[in-house]
């Protein structure tokens, strides 16, 4: 089976993946205007300030929107059908992710449900994914 795609960090994104490897979800936040944002850039997309910090996120998020893909991408053969989701972090920014430890059905995946971050490994790179909170298991 093919491995899942491995993101290849660039200088602007390297800290994001380094923090993720330590089990921390951090996103850039502008010290000038306060905006937390994705994806990582070296200047604020709202006010252009380069005075940024890496905000430690709580890991809590909600399920903003998703689809359930039936034709697996390489590396996802055993996962199909699987949800490709956009989650909204408690701190505001949104990012694409997968919803794990959860049936990949429209019944189980309810918009705005509460999620928490878990880290998966694609190759050597830690990739943030999300699972429902308050599971009974």
């Amino acid at each position: 089976m093919t491995a899942k795609p491995v993101p290849q960090p660039t200088p602007n994104t390297e800290p994001y993946f380094e923090y993720a490897a330590r089990g921390e979800l951090r996103v850039p936040r502008c010290r000038a205007c306060g905006l937390a944002f994705m994806y990582p850039r070296t200047a604020c997309p709202s006010c252009a300030s380069e005075d940024l910090e890496w905000l430690l996120c709580s890991g809590r998020a909600t399920l903003h929107t998703y689809l359930i893909n039936t034709r697996p991408a390489p590396g996802f053969e055993e996962d199909a059908p699987y949800a490709i989701a956009v989650v909204e972090l408690e701190e505001g920014p949104r990012l694409m992710s997968n919803i794990v430890e959860c049936p990949q059905t429209s019944e189980a995946l309810v918009l705005d449900m509460d999620l928490e971050v878990v880290f998966d490994k694609h190759g050597d790179v830690a990739v943030p994914k999300f699972r429902p909170v308050g599971r009974t298991s």
């Binding site: 993101p7 660039t10 994104t13 359930i68 893909n69 490709i84």
Partner: protein, 386 residues
């Protein structure tokens, strides 16, 4: 400086065949469409001094055809690129950089002859922040906002399924449309789920084909011996949002659609009630829903009912995607050029499913997954004089 009506489309044509064309490469589809559009304008190859295209480089298209250009535009922002090419060409012609611009499209979307594979580099932003989550092409990303839209505005699966049903009614009148058999909402909802909540019949076709337009100044168009009326560019707009759909500001609305549309309508000096005919790029059934709202034809959340009530269908107040659209006519990959072609045909009175008395037609092109947009307001000589 107003560009309203300064430039006209004087030639427009599609490749003779659409659909499955394994014996023509992408560049040859550009070339065939180019030759036909130039002939449609009653011009010769030597009259062309500007070349614009996407997919292939304009250098390759110019060289393949034997043109020495004074103007090149290789803007490549997905299926909306051709709306931008028309807009840029109008500015270049008005500035005197060139006099006659050829805009070409050709894509071997189905047969993949002479095409590059889809694969964002792993160090690209998409490669880092979307591809790891199992995305692979348009069906795995473009429909991602639909569930949000449904929750926010109460759109039902039946309402979404009405979009392809209505477009099939238009396609039934068009012998060149790929899919012409009538379908029902039940048929759509019974078709295979490609990516919940989208069904196969809510996804566009994947075809081979090409099309091209020729533009020149309206002043020159007025003295040309054209076999048809020129189609005037009354207004245009372009914009972009993100190459990653996951970064959209609002998953129920396209910022690029809104921005490009506002500009185009303002430049043309028209109100929505002035629009006789509309083309909205329909890679998937929800895109016309977003487009109707983002262009301001209806309020937020009102498009599903608007379509369901038949306003965009044959005999309705706002005929939409009258060639059958990407859902039923053809969709090579970058469909925007085909939307322009249908607007031109409607304005000339030459469409297969001709709408009576079309004087103003609007064409909205989408690029990528709500990544970019181009809007053209096109009109007849009567509309320009009004």
């Amino acid at each position: 400086m107003s560009m309203r009506g300064a430039v006209s489309i004087v030639g427009a044509a599609e490749t003779e065949r659409l659909g499955k064309i394994p014996d023509q490469s992408a560049i040859e589809l550009h070339a065939e469409a180019a030759r036909r559009a130039i002939a449609d304008a009653g011009l010769r190859l030597q009259d062309i001094d500007g070349v614009a295209c996407a997919g292939e480089s304009p250098v390759e298209v110019a060289e393949y055809l034997g043109i020495t250009p004074h103007y090149l535009d290789g803007t490549h922002v997905g299926g909306s690129s051709f709306m931008l090419h028309v807009r840029h060409a109008a500015a270049a012609i008005a500035a005197g950089h060139c006099s006659t611009v050829l805009v070409t499209h050709g894509e071997s979307g189905r047969s993949r002859v002479g095409m590059q594979p889809w694969a964002p580099a792993p160090q690209s932003m998409r490669g880092q922040f979307e591809v790891p989550y199992g995305v692979m092409g348009a069906p795995t990303t473009f429909p991602i906002g639909i569930l949000r839209y449904m929750k926010e505005y109460g759109m039902t699966p039946e309402q979404l399924a009405t979009v392809p049903v209505v477009q099939r009614q238009w396609a039934a009148m068009n012998p060149r449309a790929k899919l012409r058999d009538p379908i029902t909402v039940e048929d759509v909802l019974a078709s295979r789920v490609v990516a919940h909540p989208i069904h196969l019949l809510e996804c566009c076709l994947v075809t081979d084909g090409g099309a091209a337009v020729v533009l020149t100044s309206s002043e020159r168009a007025g003295v040309m011996d054209l076999p048809h009326d020129p189609v005037h560019l009354l207004g245009s707009g372009e914009s972009s949002e993100s190459a990653m759909i996951s970064m959209m500001e609002d998953f129920t609305s396209s910022r690029a659609f809104r921005t490009a549309g506002e500009r185009a309508f303002a430049e043309a000096g028209i109100r929505h009630a002035d629009v006789d005919h509309l083309m909205i790029y329909d890679a998937f059934a929800h895109v016309p829903i977003y487009g109707l709202e983002d262009l301001g034809f209806v309020g937020k959340g009102e498009a599903p009912s608007f379509v369901e009530e038949g306003h965009t269908a044959p005999g309705g107040s706002l005929p939409l995607n009258t060639n059958g659209g990407g859902l039923a006519y053809t969709h090579t990959g970058m469909y925007g050029m085909f939307a322009i072609q249908e607007s031109v045909r409607q304005l000339r009175g030459q469409a297969a499913a001709q709408v009576p008395d079309v004087n103003i037609s609007v064409a909205l092109g989408n690029g990528g997954m709500f990544m970019s947009a181009g809007v053209l307001v096109l009109g007849t000589p009567a509309a320009l004089a009004a």
